[in-house]
């Protein structure tokens, strides 16, 4: 008796279990059938008829059916247990084998891991930004249930405005839609303490501010919506940062009184450190809403945030807001339209588009990285053909070898992913430090569980992407034949070469797309930096000062203060000009837009409503800023409260053209934000908030000696550095009033620049990713050409032996490389033309198909690919025909 143990038990492919149950059943049946036959035979030998014997055998056996099921169950149990053990030990084996294989060729593993780490790291960093900025803009549970509600007033040509406090309270009555509603207005106060005053930023709120964000007190209690209405609005809540900075983290702050703009307020609570909203807010205070304030539905000052009830969808909300607006319009007039936007989307603003473009870019970088590592894997499997064939001959099934190759890819991807995570964290830290001024607000972005999960997923996908194709390719080669042929020649199949070359073409094409995108953004930024903002930002420093209304309670006291400070500044060394302004361009001060009337001209029905912004300045403002005076005159010190001519107004060129087309505005009277006055001059218009926003809002200027001016910016033109000018401004202010904080000191250039923060982020990141992708693509091209020329060495030897010159061989390889590069450029240009259209909204002054950008990127790619081709070609040309042929 010779039991033949099938080799099946030793080499189980991984789909083994599924087929196994049917096999078990067949085995059991067969075994029992054989038993019955043997018993029957025995009985026949003892003299029974075959028929009777068969019956007797069945009878003697007992319960056949139950036994069948019992045996099958036992068998299944054993199989499961064993295959689990087996799979695990095989995986372990594969892992050890992979690590050993990498250790033998550390160069390959190193290059592959670094390439992957760069690709995965870039993805991790950008996803962290998206996660932080778009998905979790504020530390609150379920941020996706938060919406910001805004309104349009088409009749007044006012779009996308904040809401008024009574409107927000009306919305909070809609408990069918919202669990809580709040409104807030960013605000700033002079906080006075023992060591002079400081300027603190914060928010004035109505409604359930802390409930909407589901924030709990770190210390004390938080005020509620009631505090706005029952005269208990003299309370404040400190942020954790404010508590640390201004109270030294002393818990006894609760119940203490602080002075905000000279008014006493009681600190009732401190927020946890995780809650930082609105950005930079340090102090929170309930709005004071006396009954008359509840009738003022025109003070559109508050950003409304609401938490949606479960099951209320954005579509339902939109229709309900329509109903609500209709009700308001019927009751109060105004022709308003309400709309809601997801909170995260509203707050990401312009950054949203930037982040999506960057995400697209890093996906491309990862694709290039995967293509590159895939090529490396492919080349490596070729040189390992012999090793694989030996393993196969030793009994490893195809499935087992395929799995081994995939495990190797997995190991690469995991190590690359781990390294990528660190790289991503570094990149993120650099970004956050770069954005220290919080222009784009990435300070709160960090790596969390979601980012880790994302990185893991990307790594696995990458492993599948670059591992599967080479592994399957290796499977298609005849391993047995490889063994016979000693691994020479057979694996240099046309199909594999096509795969290698195709992936090089794809890499070059993707790199070109990224390069074009980066080029377009660079050109846009360049145009923006060159574009005319209407004033000269160089050598200008601005700082803000706020006068407490309690102490400076009249226009004359206020103007006297500023006049004295300006007098002082103008005599200081190095100061060319000094002036003051409320609503400084490119600052946190926001100018209000107000209805404007021209005295003596009745609005014709159907005319669009006239709206403009106003400013309060001194007469030297235009000269200081470098804004040209186009007609008439600017303010004189004599234009004050006692002037016989009354209030005088300077308008900008935009206002003149919009509302006085073909007329001379000088001498005309207009009624605007600070009352009625006579137009005395026309000045040039300037950009107010963004360089790339078209100038649409007209502006009128009032004189500070004729109107309230508590909150002003001091603007100084001086060639001296920021520190020196800041010192001069502080000294001049403190000589008049040592308690006044001077804050937000920065050069105008810095302010203008900051408004371009999101663009700089986009340019820096995209340019970096483009550079990386070009580098990877060229390395990829170089690697493939080196590999193929290496494999073709014998052929080159023959060519040279029969008379080809080294130059001809050089040209042969160069032609090969340049063909790949040209194909890549061709596909890349086609893809770039399609994909850059998605960036159109981010471009300024250049079209998505800007020929210069396309030409320069193409030339750049062509140039570096020539470099990547030359070295392998030169090497091929130096082949010694004799040695090359001998190696055959």
């Amino acid at each position: 008796m010779t039991p033949t143990r099938s080799s099946r038990d030793r080499q189980r492919p991984f789909w083994y279990l599924r087929r196994r149950r049917a096999q078990l059943q067949a085995d059991v049946d067969e075994e029992l059938r054989v038993h019955l036959e043997m018993r029957t035979d025995e009985l026949v030998r003892q003299g029974m008829s075959r028929e009777a014997a068969a019956g007797e055998a069945r009878r003697q056996f007992g319960d056949l059916d139950y036994t069948r099921r019992y045996c099958l169950e036992q068998g299944t149990r054993k199989e499961t247990r064993m295959s689990r053990r087996l799979d695990f030990s095989e995986l372990h084996q594969d892992l050890r084998y992979s690590v050993r294989a990498f250790a033998r060729k550390p160069g390959f593993a190193l290059v592959a891991i670094l390439t992957l780490a760069l690709g995965i790291g870039a993805n991790t960093a950008i996803f962290s930004l998206i996660n932080g900025v778009l998905m979790r803009p504020v530390a609150t549970p379920n941020p996706e249930r938060l919406v910001v509600i805004r309104e349009d007033l088409p009749g007044l040509n006012l779009l996308d405005t904040p809401l008024s406090p009574p409107e927000i309270l009306d919305l909070s009555a809609r408990t069918d839609l919202f669990t809580n509603v709040t409104g807030y207005q960013p605000f700033a106060w002079n906080l006075s303490g023992s060591d002079g005053g400081v300027r603190v930023e914060g928010a004035v709120t109505v409604g359930d501010f802390f409930e909407v964000f589901a924030v709990r007190p770190y210390l004390g209690t938080l005020y509620t919506s009631e505090h706005s209405r029952n005269g208990q609005h003299q309370v404040v809540v400190f942020s954790y940062g404010a508590w640390q900075t201004y109270a030294g983290g002393d818990p006894r702050i609760i119940g203490q009184t602080v002075q905000l703009d000279g008014v006493p307020r009681v600190v009732v609570g401190v927020l946890p450190p995780s809650f930082q909203y609105p950005r930079n807010a340090q102090v929170y205070k309930p709005a004071n809403l006396p009954p008359q304030a509840l009738r003022m539905r025109g003070t559109l000052s508050m950003t409304a945030v609401a938490r949606l009830r479960d099951r209320v969808t954005l579509t339902q909300l939109a229709s309900q807001l329509g109903t609500e607006a209709t009700r308001w319009n019927e009751q109060y007039g105004g022709g308003k339209a309400l709309f809601a936007r997801p909170f995260a989307e509203y707050h990401a603003g312009r950054l949203r588009r930037v982040l999506f473009v960057l995400m697209g870019a890093v996906v491309m970088v990862l694709m290039i990285a995967c293509a590159n590592v895939g090529n490396l894997q492919l080349v490596r499997t070729v040189s390992r053909a012999r090793e694989l064939a030996v393993r196969s001959a030793l009994g490893a099934g195809k499935g087992r070898i395929l799995r081994q190759l995939l495990v190797e890819s997995g190991v690469l991807a995991l190590v690359g992913g781990g390294l990528g995570l660190s790289l991503g964290a570094l990149l993120l830290r650099a970004l956050v430090r770069w954005d220290a001024s919080q222009v784009i607000g990435v300070g709160a972005v960090r790596l969390d569980g979601r980012v880790l999960g994302f990185t893991a997923l990307v790594s696995i996908l990458a492993a599948l992407a670059f591992g599967t194709l080479p592994a399957l390719r290796a499977m298609r080669t005849d391993l047995q034949r490889t063994l016979r042929d000693e691994g020479r020649g057979t694996m240099g199949s046309i199909g594999r070469a096509r795969l290698l070359r195709g992936s090089v073409v794809v890499q070059i094409a993707l790199a070109l797309v990224l390069l074009t995108g980066a080029g377009l953004l660079i050109r846009s930024l360049d145009r923006l930096l060159d574009s005319d903002i209407g004033f000269v930002s160089a050598d200008l420093v601005a700082a803000q000062v706020a006068l407490p209304g309690v102490k400076y309670d009249s226009v004359s006291k206020q103007s006297a203060f500023y006049a004295t400070v300006l007098e002082r500044l103008r005599t200081m060394p190095g100061v060319t000009a000094a002036s003051i302004a409320w609503a400084l361009p490119f600052s946190t001060q926001t100018g209000d837009s107000n209805p404007l009337e021209i005295v003596g001209r009745a609005p014709r029905p159907g005319d669009p409503a006239m709206h403009a912004e106003y400013r309060v300045v001194d007469g030297d403002y235009f000269r200081t800023m470098g804004i040209p005076l186009l007609r008439g005159r600017t303010f004189e010190p004599s234009d004050d409260m006692t002037s016989a001519a009354g209030t005088v107004i300077v308008i900008d060129d935009l206002l003149a053209r919009q509302f006085f087309p073909g007329e001379d505005p000088i001498g005309r009277r207009i009624r605007h934000g600070r009352g009625e006055g006579t137009v005395i001059g026309v000045v040039g218009s300037i950009s107010q908030r963004q360089v790339d926003e078209p100038r649409q809002k007209a502006v009128s200027y009032y004189h500070f000696r004729q109107t309230r001016s508590v909150l002003m910016a001091i603007v100084v033109r001086s060639a001296r550095d920021l520190g020196a000018v800041a010192q001069m401004i502080r000294a001049s202010v403190h000589e008049s009033d040592p308690e006044l904080p001077v804050y937000d000191i920065a050069t105008m250039e810095k302010r203008v620049d900051s408004s371009l923060g999101d663009r700089r982020l986009a340019v820096a990141a995209l340019a970096g990713f483009a550079g990386l992708s070009v580098l990877l693509a060229v390395l990829g091209l170089y690697a493939v050409l080196s590999h193929t020329t290496e494999r073709r060495k014998p052929e080159m030897g023959v060519r040279m032996a029969v008379g080809a010159s080294p130059g001809q061989v050089l040209r042969l390889v160069m032609r090969d490389g340049l063909l790949l590069s040209s194909l890549g450029i061709l596909f890349g240009l086609a893809a770039a033309v399609i994909l850059t259209r998605l960036m159109e909204g981010m471009l300024f002054g250049v079209g998505a198909r800007d020929p210069l950008t396309l030409v320069v990127s193409t030339a750049l790619i062509a140039g570096v690919t020539v470099l990547g081709t030359t070295l392998p070609a030169w090497r091929a040309a130096r082949v010694n025909p004799l040695t090359a042929m001998r190696s055959e």
């Binding site: 039991p3 033949t4 099938s6 075994e31 054989v34 036959e37 043997m38 036994t67 045996c71 054993k78």
Partner: protein, 112 residues
């Protein structure tokens, strides 16, 4: 014609011992094990074939015996069972236990 010898039902738990010891001489298929038990006990021990196969598969499931297909003496394909190392060890323990048990029972019974 001699009276048939009395046929005794199997004591609980002793079937595994019987199967293991039938395999102590080497590989064997189920039919051979059944005949071996029958012959060795002079026909006294009645083991139903169904119970025997269940025992074989149970022991295989516990890793005490292993099985593989082979060819029987009559050129039939049959499933051959063999003691594993664990099975050999278990057989030793079971035999010792059985001897202790049998001796104890005999000692008690002899007093009757």
């Amino acid at each position: 014609m001699a009276l048939p010898r009395p046929r005794l039902p199997l004591l609980q738990g002793s079937l595994d011992l019987l199967v293991l010891s039938s395999l102590s001489g080497g590989q064997s298929h189920g039919f051979a094990v059944a005949n071996f038990i029958r012959t060795r006990s002079g026909g006294t021990l009645q083991v139903e074939d169904a119970a025997l196969y269940q025992a074989l598969h149970r022991l295989e499931g516990r890793g005490l015996v292993s099985a593989e297909w082979g060819v029987s003496e009559n050129n039939r394909r049959a499933r051959f069972y063999e003691l594993t190392t664990a099975g050999r060890k278990r057989l030793g323990e079971e035999v010792t236990n059985w001897r202790l048990y049998a001796r104890a029972v005999s000692a008690v019974v002899q007093g009757v």
